[in-house]
């Protein structure tokens, strides 16, 4: 690599200070001063950059910089190593961009403010580089005073009170730090950190006090919960541009200091650090939930992220060689994302989260906002994802499962408020009275960091073990990227065509070689994707934000099938989740539902991650191939349970289903079939992989497939019963999906040939008819603008084609012969009797009956009965949607006539996994041990009878006169209330009276109750921060005293 000329790092400090002093001459020329500052920062950045470059590419060795011409420990020395180069680069770079961003604020406050800003950056650099503990103290003071000064860059009373609180707390902390330092000097005879480490303070009687004070003070500087109210208030009060720097640079710098100083202590202190970090991470995120102000919320998040870093630091020994990579990933994500988000907060100006809708005026910024939030939460393809992945793998391998659990829990809590915020931004009203401040100097930094996030994500992906296998995502993601870029310019017609072509090409080129399950799912994912996209031609305009995310979802789905190792698998899983989240979020009223979808998915993903981590550890921690699931030695029950529950958040098993109805029902008309008919199968595919690899496992003496069987059966029945009582057509279908996937889980739990055949038949059928139904109903909803069924009625006259679609769909769904749904029913009876799961089978059969009820309801209430006046002139659904529907109808018909076409090959490959109990095929007739079923015969006979009777009836009623339903009953008089003419509301009232207790929303109540409790705790805990500076100071002291009690023992 190119050799860059290395510049003595002392110039970072020299130039920073010198320029700051020089600025005194430019009292009037504020712009000149600003430009000078930028130039200085640019040089500082460049110096760090040269070092970083040399360390990475040219094998540069760390270099000591001596001052005053003497060697340490007698003079102060600085160190420029790889970490220092990295951190100083981060600091100066964000300082530089932040300086650009702060153009107006700095100019307004004049030269003094500019030099304070410059000194802050210089001080942070010094903190990172110095190896002398007292010098460190001086730089810390510089940084904290400069920070206190910059808090009041917007000089209002809030800022001053925040600044004052900040000074009280940091004054106390630095006082204690100084006591620690002087005692360290007393016991160690030196102030040089390296020599102090050698001096082994803890070995000296009393040295523990010095160690304690130094470490606790540095911890306090990092704002641990609950002694951090002063920091949080400062975040809320200070200008966003400053926050960006404080959060991105200061936190990094102080964190690095702690990692530099921590070696003076022993293992116990590492644990203390980890515990403090964990408490902070959990506590801060918990309180983040209840925040309504963007900057304050981000403050909590920042503090939480630093807590997470502390955990890593504390566990650095256990993390071993992966420590650096993990910290790098988390820090860089935090750095880019938090700075970016704070900058956005400055652009939006309003503090209130609910007013962020105005950001939509600049879609690119919303895009970056999403990027930053995803990066913060550790979703792929961002660096923190790879860090978290490595972290979980490493910690699991070290057997530290509790830590994994807590970290994932905290991340989930963080996701709650960050995604809610994103939801507000994307969905809530754009308040016209508010203005957005988007001068170039504010947007450029956001752009730079936003793009860097992707680039660093790419870099991280190459560094993670198994990273080279991630090249499989390059092509699809590149395509997604291109779609993002052209999204603003192209109309739906082109994008849709390109998307379909791309999917077809990708499927053809990369997925044609797939076999067995993967092929089957490929047909569902890719084939289904293409069909639903055809319906997309019905949309007009540009549909910004649809295609990239849809393609991202499909890329994830395809990735699941193509993945060979757990990393690929998990990334695919997350990509799919991300894409679908945004797709769902696009719906009109989908904000809360998208949030709960995301939270459940993320929770599920974390369970999967934990499960994979355990599996990795349990199989010897030396391979990430998907096959490790076959080789687990311990925790097998736990792994199985984690993964199964994780996958079932996607299949929406009962208990985890509450996100589904809303998410599927509120999505757009062609997104519903995607998420309901296609996406849910991803969870099923996960279960396939899991169950084939791990077989049956038990946990606590209970067979897990047995539990799954019950769970599936109960899901099936309850899901269907709930569907019966819906008034909203799409919700009805959504609940029906819950039930149908219950069948699937139930059937898979058999772990037998017939069971799996049933499951796959169910899955395939569900895909076809649910896509068909959602498309048809979607078309109706598109025309009627309502989803409430009883507001419709009589639409058969206006939308006959949609009617036929729905008719075919419900016949298939309810499993009536001769259509395809019957295949699943017949197979499931076989499997049930064979396995002896009579009661579960019974529940599932009832579920089928119940399905019949709602099927009838949906077709009756929408299409039959009295037509409503307002829909008199309604049009048939758009042609592209109908085309998509009729393709699916064709598939249903084909599958009904020739079930052997699909089931036979499926059965053939199932034999190698489950050799016993396979079906015999005689042409189109399936013969099981118990019975027989000939799809083609049933179809022909039924159609024959049907046809004969139909023709006959046509003949004998040839003189029939067509009348309008209205005339005959009401003599042409229109009753004023439509409820009177159309019986649709509360259709199965008798059932509700008899078994309504079954559909009490207990599960919903449970989750909402949990959410309430979480919010209440959050609300209660945040009362700790009463805004009084004295109280904050008190917490600092308490924190110290309490920890001294625990660590030194009073």
């Amino acid at each position: 690599m190119v050799n860059l000329i290395l510049i003595n790092p002392i110039y970072i400090i020299g130039i920073g200070l010198g320029t700051a002093f020089l600025l005194g001459f430019f009292k009037k020329g504020k712009s000149v001063a600003w430009a000078l500052m930028l130039a200085a920062l640019a040089v500082m950045t460049y110096i760090s950059f040269t070092w970083l470059w040399s360390f990475i590419f040219n094998g540069q060795l760390p270099e000591q910089v001596y001052t005053a011409g003497f060697k340490p420990p007698f003079s102060i020395n600085l160190l420029m190593g790889k970490s220092e180069a990295f951190f100083t680069f981060l600091i100066s770079f964000v300082g530089f961009l932040g300086g650009i961003y702060l153009f107006d604020k700095l100019k307004e406050q004049g030269t003094h403010a500019i030099s304070v800003y410059l000194i802050l950056i210089m001080g942070l650099n010094g903190i990172v580089m110095t190896r002398d503990i007292f010098n460190l103290f001086v730089f810390l003071e510089i940084a904290s005073i400069a920070t206190a000064g910059l808090i009041v860059l917007t000089p209002d009373i809030k800022a001053f009170s925040a600044g004052f609180k900040y000074m009280i707390a940091s004054g106390l902390i630095s006082g204690f730090l100084l006591i620690g330092i002087i005692f360290a000097y007393y016991f160690g005879g030196t102030l040089n950190i390296d020599f102090l480490i050698q001096a082994d303070l803890l070995a000296v009687k009393g040295g523990v006090f010095a160690v304690f004070l130094i470490i606790i003070a540095l911890l306090l500087e990092l704002k641990p919960f609950p002694a951090n109210g002063w920091g949080i208030d400062a975040y809320e009060a200070s200008p966003a541009g400053i926050n960006a720097v404080i959060s991105a640079a200061s936190a990094g710098a102080v964190y690095y200091v702690l990692s530099k100083v921590l070696p003076i202590a022993d293992a116990k202190w590492y644990t203390v650090t980890a515990v403090v970090g964990m408490i902070t991470f959990l506590g801060s995120n918990l309180m983040g939930i209840k925040q309504a102000d963007a900057k304050r919320m981000l403050g909590y998040s920042s503090v939480g992220q630093v807590g997470l870093l502390l955990v890593f630091l504390g566990l650095s020994k256990q993390l071993g060689i992966n420590f650096e990579f993990i910290v790098f990933g988390i820090i860089i994500s935090h750095y880019l994302a938090k700075a970016g988000l704070f900058w956005l907060a400055g652009i939006v100006k309003t503090g209130k989260l609910k007013e962020w809708g105005i950001l939509r005026r600049k879609p690119v910024l919303v895009f970056f906002m999403g990027t930053f939030i995803f990066a913060l939460l550790g979703l792929p393809p961002f660096p923190s994802f790879f860090a978290k992945w490595t972290l979980v793998m490493t910690l699991s391998a070290a057997g530290m499962n509790l830590w994994v659990g807590l970290i994932l829990l905290g991340s989930l809590v963080e996701a709650i408020y960050l995604f809610r915020w994103l939801g507000y931004t994307v969905k809530l009203d754009d308040n016209k009275e508010l203005s957005l401040s988007t001068p170039l100097y504010k947007t450029i930094p956001v752009w730079v960091f936003g793009l860097l996030t992707y680039y660093i994500g790419y870099l991280s992906s190459t560094m993670v073990p198994g990273g080279s296998s991630l090249s499989m995502f390059y092509i699809p993601l590149a395509f997604v990227g291109v779609l993002f870029i052209v999204d603003k310019f192209l109309p739906v017609l082109i994008k849709n065509t390109v998307s379909i072509a791309a999917m077809a090409y990708y499927g053809w080129y990369y997925m044609a070689d797939l076999t067995e399950f993967r092929m089957l799912f490929a047909i569902i994912f890719i084939g289904g994707g293409i069909i639903t996209l055809i319906a997309g031609y019905a949309k007009n305009g540009k549909r910004i934000g649809f295609y990239p995310f849809a393609m991202m979802m499909y890329a994830g789905l395809a990735g699941l099938l193509l993945s060979e190792n757990i990393l690929q698998f998990f990334i695919s899983w997350e990509l799919m989740t991300l894409g679908s989240y945004i797709l769902i979020l696009r719906g009109k009223k989908s904000m809360p539902h998208a949030l709960s979808y995301m939270l459940f998915s993320l929770g599920g993903a974390f369970l999967i991650l934990a499960g994979l981590g355990l599996a990795y550890a349990s199989s010897g921690a030396n391979s990430i191939s998907l096959d490790i699931l076959k080789n687990v030695n311990q925790y097998s029950g736990l792994i199985y349970a984690f993964l199964a529950v994780g996958f079932m958040t996607k299949t929406a098993a009962i208990g985890l289903h509450i996100w589904l109805p809303g998410a599927h029902a509120e999505a757009e008309s062609d997104v519903s079939p995607m998420v309901s008919a296609i996406l849910l199968k991803a969870g099923m595919f996960g279960l396939v992989v899991l169950m084939l690899s791990m077989g049956s496992q038990s946990l606590g003496g209970v067979s897990l497939p047995y539990l799954l069987g019950w769970l599936g059966a109960i899901t099936a029945i309850l899901g269907n019963i709930m569907a019966v009582f819906q008034e909203d057509a799409k919700r009805l279908l959504a609940y029906s999906s819950v039930g149908q996937l219950g069948y699937v889980v139930f059937a898979m739990a058999f772990m037998s040939h017939l069971g799996w055949l049933t499951a796959l038949a169910f899955a395939l059928n569900h895909f076809v008819f649910k896509a068909l139904l959602f498309l048809a109903i979607g078309g109706v909803v598109m025309r009627t603008k309502t989803k409430t069924m009883y507001e419709m009625g009589g639409l058969i006259k206006r939308m006959p084609f949609s009617f036929i679609s729905v008719l075919i769909g419900i016949i298939a769904l309810s499993g009536l012969p001769p259509l395809t749904g019957f295949a699943g029913k017949w197979l499931s009876y076989n499997a049930v009797i064979e396995k002896g799961w009579y009661f579960q089978g019974f529940l599932v059969s009832i579920a089928g009956l119940v399905a019949f009820l709602y099927c009838f309801r949906i077709i009756h209430v929408i299409f039959l009965g009295q037509p409503k006046d307002k829909f008199k002139n309604i049009k048939e659904a758009p042609l592209p949607m109908l085309i998509a529907q009729y393709i699916l109808i064709g598939a249903i018909m084909l599958f009904s006539i020739m079930p052997n076409m699909v089931l036979k090959p499926v059965g053939d490959f199932l034999i190698q996994y489950f050799p016993d109990g396979a079906l015999q095929w005689q042409g189109g007739t399936a013969i099981s041990r118990l019975g027989r079923w000939s799809g083609v015969a049933i179809m022909n006979i039924t159609m024959g009878i049907f046809g004969i009777i139909f023709v006959w009836l046509l003949f004998i009623s040839r003189k029939a006169v067509k009348v309008k339903p209205f005339n005959i009953f009401y003599s042409g008089e229109a009753p004023s209330r439509p409820e009177l003419t159309h019986f649709g509301y509360n259709f199965f009232a008798p059932y509700k009276k008899a078994v309504g207790f079954l559909v009490q929303p207990l599960v919903t109540r449970f989750w909402y109750g949990l959410a309430d409790i979480l919010h209440s705790i959050s609300d209660l805990v945040r009362r700790l921060y009463n805004g009084n500076g004295q109280t904050y100071a008190f917490y600092v002291i308490i924190f110290m005293v309490v920890f001294s009690f625990f660590t030194i023992g009073g």
């Binding site: 003595n8 010198g18 002093f21 005194g24 005053a68 003079s75 005879g189 009393g206 110290m1040 005293v1041």
Partner: protein, 231 residues
């Protein structure tokens, strides 16, 4: 009251902690490793009679640069938010006593002289740049006490401050090129031990520090003065 009780409990905890520290401190019989090094080699290497000064300005010169920076910061921060009142010189104040006025006009020059002496001789005698600078500023305090409405030329302070700061950094950088490293005082000849012109660049630095501290503190004081609305 409950809060007071808590405070007392916490303070007792703190006191217990401090007691632990105190009992671990047994005083020194001899100098430790670092101090012994300075005692043995300070005179020779730096050439300053005042070992404290040698440490402050040379061995730990970076600290000193830092603390100067902190003062600079403080002044700058105060300057950008304490907006001067235009009419501060027109407010009504009680006339200062004759005694104060007379004494200040006599004492201020003396104080200034003393201040300058202290930082010029910083490498030889107790005292140094900070002390000298503080003395200079205290002269200004006396001046302001006797003439509260007096307009002080704060631009002068700013210029002195900037120039001395720049020179300080400049000397530091010169050390990299001419001597062993940043802030090395041997860019100038060490001279004869114990005389005014000894210890290389050390006195120069201390003079700059003195000027800088003096002007910074003065600047801060005038800022406070200018912000005053009423008595």
């Amino acid at each position: 009251m409950v809060k007071k009780l808590f405070v007392i409990i916490v303070l007792i905890g703190l006191a217990v902690f401090f007691y632990g520290m105190l009992s671990s401190f047994s005083g020194n019989e001899t100098l430790n490793m670092s101090a012994a090094y300075y005692a043995e080699n300070g005179a020779e290497e730096v050439g300053a009679a005042n070992l404290v000064t040698a440490i402050v300005v040379t061995y730990r010169g970076l600290d000193t640069l830092g603390e100067v920076t902190i003062l600079f910061l403080t002044a700058a921060i105060a300057a950008f938010f304490l907006k001067s009142k235009d009419n501060f010189s027109k407010r009504k104040v009680k006339e200062s006593s004759e005694l104060l006025k007379t004494a200040s006009s006599m004492l201020v020059p003396l104080i200034f002289t003393l201040g300058i002496y202290v930082f010029v001789n910083g490498h030889l005698t107790p005292g140094g740049g900070f002390q000298g600078g503080a003395i200079l500023a205290s002269g200004l305090v006396l001046l302001l006490l006797s003439e509260p409405l007096q307009k002080v030329n704060s631009v002068l302070f700013a210029v002195v401050e900037s120039i001395s700061g720049l020179f300080y950094v400049g000397i530091g950088v010169a050390g990299i090129f001419l001597a062993g490293g940043f802030l090395d005082n041997s860019i100038l000849p060490l001279g004869e031990f114990g005389t005014l012109l000894s210890a290389g660049a050390l006195p120069v630095i201390y003079i700059l520090v003195g000027l800088k501290v003096g002007s910074e503190l003065s600047g801060l004081l005038t800022k406070f003065q200018e912000t005053q609305e009423e008595n």
